[in-house]
């Protein structure tokens, strides 16, 4: 399996290197779908230039990267292209190994269940075979590396690629069972962009499941491990934040990075839901609606954790997707990360209800983004509503996609318990509904 992965990496790096050298690179790095005020490379360079001028990069409204990012690029600014390609490679390899581990676990569990005869007889066709699972890790890596969204994001040198790498490494460490590394990487991801803190719940659930600790609030072992993991997480977060303070000697980055993420002052168009809504929102209600919109990311964590407590990896996927839909400055790089997981759920295809519609919506939107942007900004023949309509549709498509996968996952689990061909009381074929 190493050979196809290496080949894939070589192909991916070649594509990126060619694009970096082409004239497209500059065009791509200006696209609002690919870069947001939070992760634009131009702003990183500006921040470094401000630092050189002796001005705090956070004194203006242009730089919103974390101090560690300044530190990283202070040394590697000349090799930025290589850094971003390596980050993409790391993400792909980490996802590859994670999914490989995950599939092994799934298969082992399925084998035990089969041996203990827990599955109904008619759902053998729902079980997964090693043959179909063999290429899934490679497909995941391919979905990430060859996804046009990832390629654009990398060529634009959006720091989103680095955040994705951290999250992918976090998933890898979690699935490998290293609570310490997982906690540290989760803290790093949180430090980078706040929102990954919702991944704390799935990681905790995974470790508990792995250590056979039942989720029971009265059990001391549960609390012991939870506190232990929380301590690692919070401790690393404090250390990283403190380190940032010592790097720059001021707390200016807190309002400039996290305040900027939460209060959404920059309404540059992007693919998210926030910009146009808050451009139109009356100032009086702004705070209220900021709270309403921001809470969406964190709101689903607890119910999802309860519903999917047996399936933490799927929960990770759900959380990453929700973050990418409801975060304040989303870019296509965020979308690419959760899309990379789709091959891992390839066994759910038979239960997906509107995958065709969703694929068409997403493809059409991706094509229409640049078109309507051009009409609005350059040709002047359209107005902002056109672009807004497309972002709306794109997010609608993403929501449909995620909820469809969620539905399919739950339905498969239901069938694995109750059998595939359900009968009504009178013996006729039954339809399954949500009640």
């Amino acid at each position: 399996m190493a050979a196809p992965l290496t080949l894939l990496l070589i192909v991916a790096v070649t594509i990126r290197a060619v694009l970096f050298r082409s004239s497209l690179a500059e065009l791509i790095s200006e696209r609002v779908e690919v870069v947001s005020p939070l992760n634009a490379w131009k702003r990183v360079v500006e921040g470094l230039a401000l630092l050189d001028l002796g001005v705090s990069p956070y004194s203006g409204d242009v730089f919103h990267e974390t101090p560690l990012m300044i530190y990283l690029f202070h040394f590697t600014v000349d090799y930025a292209e290589i850094v971003f390609m390596i980050a993409d490679g790391i993400t792909a390899v980490a996802l590859y190994l994670s999914i490989q581990t995950y599939n092994k676990n799934v298969f082992r569990k399925q084998k035990y269940a089969l041996e203990s005869d827990r599955y109904p007889a008619d759902c053998l066709e729902l079980l997964r075979s090693p043959k179909e699972m063999f290429y899934i890790p490679l497909k995941v890596a391919m979905f990430y590396l060859l996804n046009p969204f990832t390629i654009l994001s990398c060529v634009a040198k959006s720091t989103c690629g680095l955040n994705n790498a951290i999250i992918a490494l976090f998933i890898f460490c979690t699935l490998k069972g290293s609570a310490l590394l997982s906690g540290i990487l989760l803290a790093l991801a949180t430090y980078q962009s706040i929102y990954p803190l919702t991944l704390f719940a799935p990681a905790l659930l995974f470790f508990l499941q792995r250590l056979y600790i039942p989720v029971n609030l009265r059990r001391s072992s549960f609390w012991f491990f939870t506190l232990q993991y929380a301590f690692i997480y919070v401790g690393s977060l404090v250390v990283i934040t403190g380190l940032s303070f010592f790097l720059l000697g001021s707390w200016d980055f807190i309002p400039s990075v996290y305040g900027f993420i939460f209060s959404v002052p920059d309404l540059t168009p992007n693919i998210g839901l926030f910009w146009y809504f808050f451009a139109e929102m009356f100032e009086h209600f702004r705070l209220f609606f900021i709270c309403v919109f921001q809470i969406n990311v964190f709101f689903y964590t607890i119910p999802l954790s309860i519903k999917l407590k047996e399936h933490p990896v799927f929960l990770i996927f759900m959380q990453i997707a929700i973050i990418s839909i409801f975060k304040s400055y989303p870019t296509v790089g965020d979308v690419a990360l959760y899309m990379a997981f789709l091959p891992a759920w390839s066994h759910l295809y038979r239960f997906l209800r509107n995958i065709f519609l969703v694929s068409c919506v997403l493809l059409a939107c991706s094509a229409l983004f640049p078109v309507l942007w051009h009409l609005w900004i350059y040709a002047g023949s359209a107005n902002s509503n056109f672009y807004y309509a497309i972002t709306l549709l794109f997010n609608f498509g993403q929501i449909l996609l995620v909820s469809d996968y969620f539905y399919a996952y739950l339905r498969r689990e239901h069938h694995l318990i109750h059998g595939l061909y359900l009968k009504k009381k009178d013996g006729t074929e039954a339809t399954l509904v949500l009640k």
């Binding site: 200006e30 242009v62 002052p265 809504f277 969406n296 902002s384 509904v433």
Partner: protein, 626 residues
């Protein structure tokens, strides 16, 4: 703060090391030690034979009391001993300078100067309450807000440096206000806010639109012009309103500040319908403390009201170059302001030394030579305080008749222009081009640019090229903007090579502007200051003979930029709010469904009749139907 101060001293060093001037050491001393400057003012040449060598403009400017005497000494044709004015505590002077421009336009510049040796910033107990010539409204403002220096200008139209040369006092289009507060002021921002509102009332202008989003504190560009050694730019506030429209309602309150109002003296000429029917109109008020006497033992306040106007009679008046006071202002002069200690009209006749180009009537043999902005000029002087100026008709209507065509265009030594490059509403590039037309001298130039927050500047894209080579600024002060709070401020010191064109470019990104239905915004003019000066006195000195080779200080404003901004469509905010909320609700709804409900086999509900029957059966207590 320390960093800024370092920067400032750096500028000073650069400025003075760049002076290829014999008296530069002298100047350096003065600039470094302000008390020395004050002392040097005492060296005013009371002796008429002393040429410019020991004099500098600073002396003249600060002790304008000497105008009459020096004028008398320097008039080449006749010597008219002016009676020494009685030492009054306050005095008023007025003058009008008319300069035929090379383009055929006529430039008229009024200056009214009120001097008062009082101190507004005294202790509260000794509040100044008795006003004579100085306008009380301004005096009260000065003492209330502890203002040390105040400069305000309202300009309609753009000064075309390429065609008209340098103005005496430059000003940017729209309104410009800059104020140095006294160093005892603790809440500078609060004072500034209140002051702008008060001035807004005094001048009937929209200065109340000055807020933190268009106020900057330049670190090096706007030094105090009067006395005082404070260089701490925390007490300086500078703002421009490029959109301000200047009209009659601004002129009337301005005229009311004059001791004679518009009833007598030169102000009679200021008829609004004529003044505003012109290519360029600029009115200004400058207040600063200066030395009251030669020893500079006491401080006096100087109020300088200037009004500059350019008439385009040549283009609008059938191509004739004749002009007269009546033609320009529809009025003639009948008397000087009785309160004025000096009242004069000057006409620039530099191009006409022998009278072959044009003819002035009535003729005067009173001449004055002056070096204005490095240029040697000759002026005909008409003294309105003398009865013979008005002749038999008791009215003075100056008339100029052209005999031949004038010479070629003069090229200004220094001028700047600016434009926005790029297309679309996303990004763009501001280009500023500065020309140095001097054949062999390099000028150090201090550029100041204040850009509103809705243009996101990228200072790493800043390039300065002259003669297609990179020209690295020796000093850069940059303060990035804060959204809705603070504009960008960019100041840099550039050396302009001789006979060159220097291009400064910086890229920007446009923000989606909110709650503003206008889709375009004006970026204020960039201020380029040639720092090549021996004294910090840009106020046009009243025709004093100065050393001819003296270098001078010039402030150049570029045109303001009009930048289109992308705007959201505000025609349907409710639709947007509803649609976005719908999508969020779709997400919430589908997750909620999946989270709270469980899969169940769909059993069709029994028909209505059966349900009714079962309901009755349940009441009766008999077994239900299946």
């Amino acid at each position: 703060m320390a960093a800024h101060r370092c920067g400032l001293s750096l500028v000073c060093i650069l400025i003075f090391s760049s002076l290829a001037h014999p008296s530069s050491c002298d100047t350096l001393e003065k600039a470094n030690d302000n008390t020395a400057t004050k002392r040097s003012i005492s060296e005013v040449n009371t002796d008429g034979s002393v040429a410019g060598e020991d004099m500098n403009e600073r002396q003249w400017q600060s002790t304008d009391v000497e105008v009459n005497r020096s004028d008398g000494t320097k008039t080449s044709e006749t010597f008219t001993p002016a009676p020494a004015p009685a030492p009054a505590r306050d005095q008023f002077q007025e003058e009008l300078v008319i300069r035929p421009l090379h383009s055929g336009d006529i430039y008229a510049s009024f200056q009214f100067r009120t001097l008062w040796d009082t101190d507004f910033l005294q202790e509260r107990q000794k509040k100044v309450s008795h006003y004579r010539l100085f306008p009380k409204s301004l005096g009260q403002v000065l003492s209330k807000f502890s203002v040390r220096e105040l400069h305000i200008s309202f300009t309609q139209g753009f000064w075309r440096t390429m065609q008209w040369g340098q103005p005496f006092i430059p000003s940017p289009p729209g309104a410009e206000l800059w104020v140095w507060f006294h160093h005892t002021v603790s809440d500078v921002d609060g004072n500034w806010k209140e002051l702008t509102n008060v001035l807004s009332g005094i001048f009937c202008a929209s200065l109340n639109f000055i807020d933190m989003t268009n106020t900057v504190q330049p670190s090096a560009s706007f030094k105090p012009l009067g006395l005082g050694n404070a260089t701490d730019h925390r007490f300086l506030r500078y703002a421009t309103l490029p959109r301000e429209i200047v009209c009659t309602e601004n002129l009337t309150p301005w005229k009311k500040l004059l001791p004679c109002g518009s009833k007598a003296g030169l102000a009679v000429l200021m008829k609004s319908e004529k003044l505003f029917h012109s290519s360029f109109h600029s009115q200004a008020v400058h207040i600063r403390p200066i030395c009251q006497d030669e020893q500079c033992t006491s401080k006096a306040w100087e109020l300088r009201q200037t009004l500059n106007v350019v008439f385009d009679h040549y283009t609008s008046g059938q191509g004739k170059k004749e002009w007269s006071l009546f033609k320009m202002f529809s009025r003639t002069l009948t008397e000087a302001c009785p309160l004025a200690s000096s009242s004069k009209v000057y006409v620039d006749i530099t191009d006409n030394p022998e009278g072959e180009l044009f003819e002035l009537s009535p003729a005067t043999h009173l001449l004055s030579r002056a070096v204005v902005l490095g240029d040697r000029r000759t002026y005909s002087v008409y003294d309105l305080t003398r009865a013979e100026t008005f002749g038999q008709l008791r009215s003075f209507n100056l008339l100029l008749r052209w005999k031949g065509d004038s010479g070629d265009m003069l090229r200004p030594l220094l001028h700047a222009e600016r434009y926005v490059a790029g297309f679309g509403l996303q990004t763009g590039e501001i280009h500023t081009v500065i020309y140095n037309n001097h054949p062999y001298r390099a000028f150090p130039v201090l550029l100041m640019d204040s850009v509103p927050w809705y243009l996101q500047l990228y200072v790493h894209t800043l390039t300065v090229t002259s003669k297609s080579r990179d020209n690295k600024p020796s000093y850069i002060h940059y303060q990035p903007a804060k959204d809705r709070h603070r504009p960008h401020l960019l100041e840099m010191l550039i050396q302009l090579p001789p006979h060159s064109m220097t291009e400064v470019t910086v890229q920007f990104e446009r923000a989606l502007i909110l709650k503003d239905l206008t889709s375009s915004a004006l970026v204020p003019s960039m201020v380029a200051m040639s720092t090549n000066f021996t004294q910090d006195q840009p106020l046009f000195s009243s025709f004093v003979p100065v050393k001819e080779e003296s270098s001078y200080f010039v402030r150049v404003y570029t045109e303001p930029l009009l930048v289109n901004l992308p705007t959201p469509d505000f025609s349907m905010p409710y639709n947007v709010i509803c649609l976005t909320c719908t999508v969020v609700a779709v997400g919430y709804g589908s997750f909620y469904n999946l989270l709270t409900r469980t899969f169940q086999v769909d059993e069709p509900s029994p028909p209505l009749a059966k349900r009714l029957a079962n309901f009755i059966r349940r009441i009766r207590g008999v077994p239900l139907l299946a």
